[in-house]
Symmetry: C2
């Protein structure tokens, strides 16, 4: 739908200017520089600009596919209205002075007008965009991008200019280069959609400070067909503060971003440099079919650094097949290392590199190659580069190079760059790029399944929540356990009573030992005020303990209204786990799982997923916590029922999806046994 | 002592060659290129080389300070002998064909000869060295280094050439540039010593694959007066394997290296690029006096990236004093962000940068500044660079820059480089370099204290060990607890018995409940064979359990010789911790500390130090484990006696230092109470 937006046949520049250096002139000049379509400057005060016929208003031009607006902010709404009347469906608002400087109202007005007319809008407060394949520089950037197959969108215009300048000097090319500005309408979600369909684009790079619609982002990114690499700024407290003072974007929780990126197969880069290191690899090399790589080097030390980097990232240093080792043994000098990393030695001529590369590239355990070269006395860097190009052409396995040096590598680097073999100045960066490619291979191998569905008594949960709400409180405790039960999650046998005699009656029927817990909206940490008593062995003890609890609470929390006392079967020897949900502003319900006790409280050994989760997600959550071996059973202990935990997670996910009015749930503890698991206590918060 | 080595007045080249391109000729040409001292080529087959008088043997030349040897490996020993006879005290052996290719014997022979004559030797199998301040290129490197204040030594010659080529193109200068080769004599320890005294050197960079004498390295590095930045290759299993196939260096444990670097104040870089990023900062900026930095940017996004990088590294984004905020408010436009990061906006001219930098540099919460600039329409990169140089001259606080871009930053980069303001292409790299500087500030602030001494009954421990050794075994168990007691570490009340009646007698006197444990060299996991029984309440139970244990062991481990049964007071309610020691081949006794149970077994939540440790080390060990809050007491639990744990660690350290014949000890568990701690079980291994 946005194809014409980034591939227009005709462009109007509203606010085109005669005055050199003014944005309205720079944009016009940039467009005229290469664009072959029709160009219509609009300026009521000029008949022509630099020989191009000028129109007094957008209503006066022939029909246009795209309008670039560079008028002062306050004039933008009326211009948008004119565009709408004229039938212009695509606009770029370069003008600043909107939400980013406090004028949110003005921005909202623009959004309404574009909605009304069915206009798609890039910006406001953006640099514009570049489409190298239609030679269109629809931006006020000083320089045009080089043609290439990287599609890039950035939420920061200033970073756009820096990136473009940086990329040009390195010969890094783009298909489309987009400044997102305030994302009042067009956002990363539209960009991913349009670039996924764009045949000139092989990889999508995004610099984002926030995500406009997290849920939609995940849906769109999940079905993508190309690698998406994101730098998400504002991942720390300081960074998030800087983001919000910068663009007013609400950052949301970084754990939620991390989960969302993982779940939807988006690769996160830790820095701009890393984003380009990855982008370069994706833009010109095939995706490896699996983990397992070979390293070929003429410098032992460089091979060690690469091997270190690979292993610490989880890249397998392939074990060669015996035929490979034989070929290497017969074709390399005795002193060479014929195992992985292959050291062809400091005096290696290009043909020795060729023998080594040919041998390892045909090894079925090798799915990618990192080739290193240090400029030594006999080293012919140009020749080595040519060998790499030759090998790259002959094989579909990815080849990444690290020609290390300066003056002496320049020629080789040029050959690699012209022939689309990525080169990195240091071996560790080549290893990281290879790691991103292997990560993407795993992503493409994923089978996306739908979250499973379960029978659930939704209606009863609604009733419970409505009843609770009517009581005028937002926070509830253990008395909400039946909500879980309605979704098929086993809960401890329990009942709420309001007298001592009822308590004894209930306990007699459940069977001793029992636990009793106070229910009160005013008491959020029951244990601290003696509101939980465990291991009650018989009716006699129960009477004493019940009375004592009521008195203590009256004494220490005189303001607390006791809604009742919960009598619960006491369960022993289960392993404690915790399930939680927190609603993230960007992505919705974020589920948490971890072992209870010290693992959660002290070690924060927990894992997150955005709901709804699939069976695979649930399995992964359980396996991801560091304390997972505890669930498997260590030191001869019996294993916990992981299947039951998995099913509980899936049912919990469904519950959280079904009731958006629940903003927080903690099931803590849930006890897991050798067979089955049981929720024992919980807290729940409803939205205000 | 090595000053003359790297600063000779006269140099002989033994093996100088007439033939262009041969190493013996390249070295001669390189030395002649700039060196002003006397040069004596030695070659029995030539009268002169390229107009320089040639000598038939080193014995024929005038006295020389340094001899460079480039003859075939097998001829090296006799040449070294001649050098010794001649009185040459410094030699560089460039020749390869020694330990690295299996000829360890030949290398040992060379070492003996140099020892005998008091010769210091660099290499063999090295590139040589460069001293830029005496214009001496005593290497066969194709290019000379630029003058600067970085001292570098590399264990890989191939990386030397790559680094030099890389550095030259970037204008990065060196005082001394040393290829270490096989380190048969001169090692990193000598280099640190000599470069620490060298007034031309401000920072020492090391690429190492192993360390020759770990203990000495720590001693030397600890008293250094300059930042030392190390890339230690071979930190992973694959890397270590590659190291050993590369240079035959035994890698040792990476945890030991990490501890050794930390304890001796050496900064470890994760990659060569990082080493240079750090080196650049140290080479031309002052060390910040404390944590806390300011970020100044003309691009909000870049500021966010820098803030993210800083916070995730633990760099404080300083809160400005109110006077600073006032100055910023009055001197910057309304839309600017006057909090940290300071955003001077995209249209900022250099003078706006000046106002911002001047304001924040005078803030007492600011100890360093990172300045970012993106090339936007109005940006004068050159002007901004000049402002940075001006600010750098006026202040002793470190300033790191990140001019982001390509073409448009070239001029600015040049100005910064010429004026010694470090520039990084991306903000994250500037942040990492700042982090290294702050880490070094903390290192210099450390007060190095000696490990405390304690009274200890060393003689008794010797007796126990000798007795144990006489029994012909290397592995011992709980019966060794008295060893700890002799070093003042409290142990559980216990005694070894060999009959049931003795057992009852002992238990009666210790007091019930008791624990009994079998003692047998053949049984290393007592619990698995029923060799530990706890909670024995009285004599009657003890008789039954004792008999049962003996029978079980006879049945399940018929080959196990029972040396006795240990009767121990049963202690309850203590928190389990574990103390361990393993002897690292490079660094000696490496101590381990952690909480017992799941923390050690599953979560590997342990911390290491090389012994001997100081009081500060012991405190840090306890605080470093993630489960530390457990010792402080969570959820209203009573705190554990951390002082007692600390003293135990220090006494344990002394024990490990005093008895090098002990290769391994595990004290597991030690129980910590609110007051005091007690060792309950242990294992000990003696060297073979």
């Amino acid at each position: 739908m946005l194809e014409k937006f980034f591939n227009p046949d005709s462009v109007a520049i509203i606010g085109a200017s005669r005055k050199e250096g003014k944005v309205g002139r720079v944009v016009l000049d940039n467009i005229r520089e290469g664009f072959k379509g029709n160009i219509y400057p609009v300026n009521p005060g000029a008949d022509e600009i630099d020989g191009v016929k000028c129109y007094p208003a957008i209503t006066d031009t022939p029909p246009v596919d795209l309008a670039i607006i560079v008028v002062p902010a306050r004039a933008v709404p009326s211009i948008l209205d004119e565009c709408g009347a004229k039938g212009v469906r695509n606009v770029v608002v370069i003008s600043a002075g909107f939400k980013e400087s406090g004028a949110s109202e003005l921005e909202r007005e623009c959004i309404e007008i574009t909605k009304r007319h069915g206009i798609r809008m890039l910006g406001p407060n953006c640099l514009g965009f570049i489409n190298t394949y239609s030679d269109l520089n629809a931006s006020f950037s000083g320089s045009m991008a080089i043609k290439g197959n990287i599609g890039l969108a950035s939420q920061s215009g200033a970073l756009c200019t820096a990136i473009l300048d940086w990329a040009n000097i390195r010969g890094i090319g783009f298909s489309t280069f987009i400044s997102l500005g305030n994302k009042a309408d067009i956002s990363e979600n539209d960009i991913i959609t349009v670039l996924s369909e764009d045949e000139k684009t092989k990889v999508i790079l995004l610099y984002l400070e926030g995500i406009k619609n997290g849920r939609e982002f995940m849906d769109i990114a999940s079905v993508h067909k190309k690698p998406i690499v994101v730098v998400k700024a504002g991942r720390t407290r300081s960074g998030a503060k800087a983001v919000s003072s910068h663009t007013g974007t609400l950052a949301g929780s970084d754990a939620a971003y991390t989960s969302a990126f993982n779940q939807s197969g988006v690769i996160r880069a830790a820095s701009l440099e890393e984003m380009f290191d990855y982008g370069l690899a994706f833009s010109c090399q095939e995706i490896p079919s699996d983990n397992g790589i070979a390293i070929v080097t003429n410098a032992g030390g460089a091979g060690v650094l690469a091997a270190d980097a690979c292993e610490s990232l989880g890249i397998k240093i392939a074990s060669f097949e015996s035929k490979t080792i034989e070929i290497l043994r017969s074709s390399l000098p005795d002193a060479a290392s014929i195992y992985n990393p292959v050291d062809v030695l400091g005096d290696a001529h290009p043909d020795r590199y060729r023998s080594a590369i040919n041998a390892v590239i045909n090894d079925s355990n090798v799915n990618g190659i990192i080739v290193l070269a240090s400029p030594q006395a006999m080293t012919d860097m140009k020749g080595i580069a040519e060998i790499l190009v030759e090998a790259d052409r002959a094989s579909s396995k990815p080849i990444l190079a690290s020609l290390m040096g300066g003056e002496q590598t320049v020629e080789g680097e040029k050959i690699l760059s012209m022939n689309h073999v990525p080169n990195y100045p240091f071996p560790e960066r080549a290893a990281r790029a290879m790691h991103a490619m292997i990560a993407y291979a795993n992503i493409t191998a994923r089978v996306y399944t739908s979250p499973p569905d379960f029978d659930a008594d939704r209606r009863s949960v609604e009733d419970i929540l409505n009843r609770s709400r009517r009581e005028g409180s937002r926070r509830f405790g253990v008395e909400c356990l039946p909500i879980l039960e309605k979704y098929g999650i086993p809960i401890a046998d329990s009942m709420v009573v309001s007298t001592r005699d009822q308590a004894v009656k209930v306990a007699d029927s459940i069977g001793y030992p029992v636990v009793i817990k106070v229910i009160s909206s005013e008491i959020s940490h029951k244990t601290d005020v003696g509101g939980v008593r465990t291991g009650i062995k018989d009716a006699q003890e129960l009477r004493v303990v019940y009375e004592d609890m009521i008195q203590r609470i009256h004494r220490y929390m005189p303001g607390a209204r006791i809604k009742g006392i919960l009598i619960q079967k006491m369960l022993e020897n289960g392993r404690e786990v915790i399930l939680g949900m927190n609603r993230d502003p960007q992505f919705g319900p974020m589920l948490m799982f971890g072992l209870g006790g010290i693992s959660v409280e002290v070690l924060k050994d927990v894992t997150f997923r955005i709901a709804p989760i699939t069976e695979k997600d649930a399995e992964d959550m359980i396996k991801e916590i560091r304390a997972y071996p505890m669930l498997l059973g260590i030191r001869g202990e019996r294993p916990s029922d992981i299947g039951a935990v998995k099913e509980t997670l899936l049912r919990f996910s469904k519950l959280c999806m079904d009731f958006p009015e629940i903003t927080e749930i903690d099931v803590n503890p849930m006890l897991v046994f050798e067979h089955g698991c049981v929720a024992v206590d919980m807290r729940l918060t409803l939205e205000e």
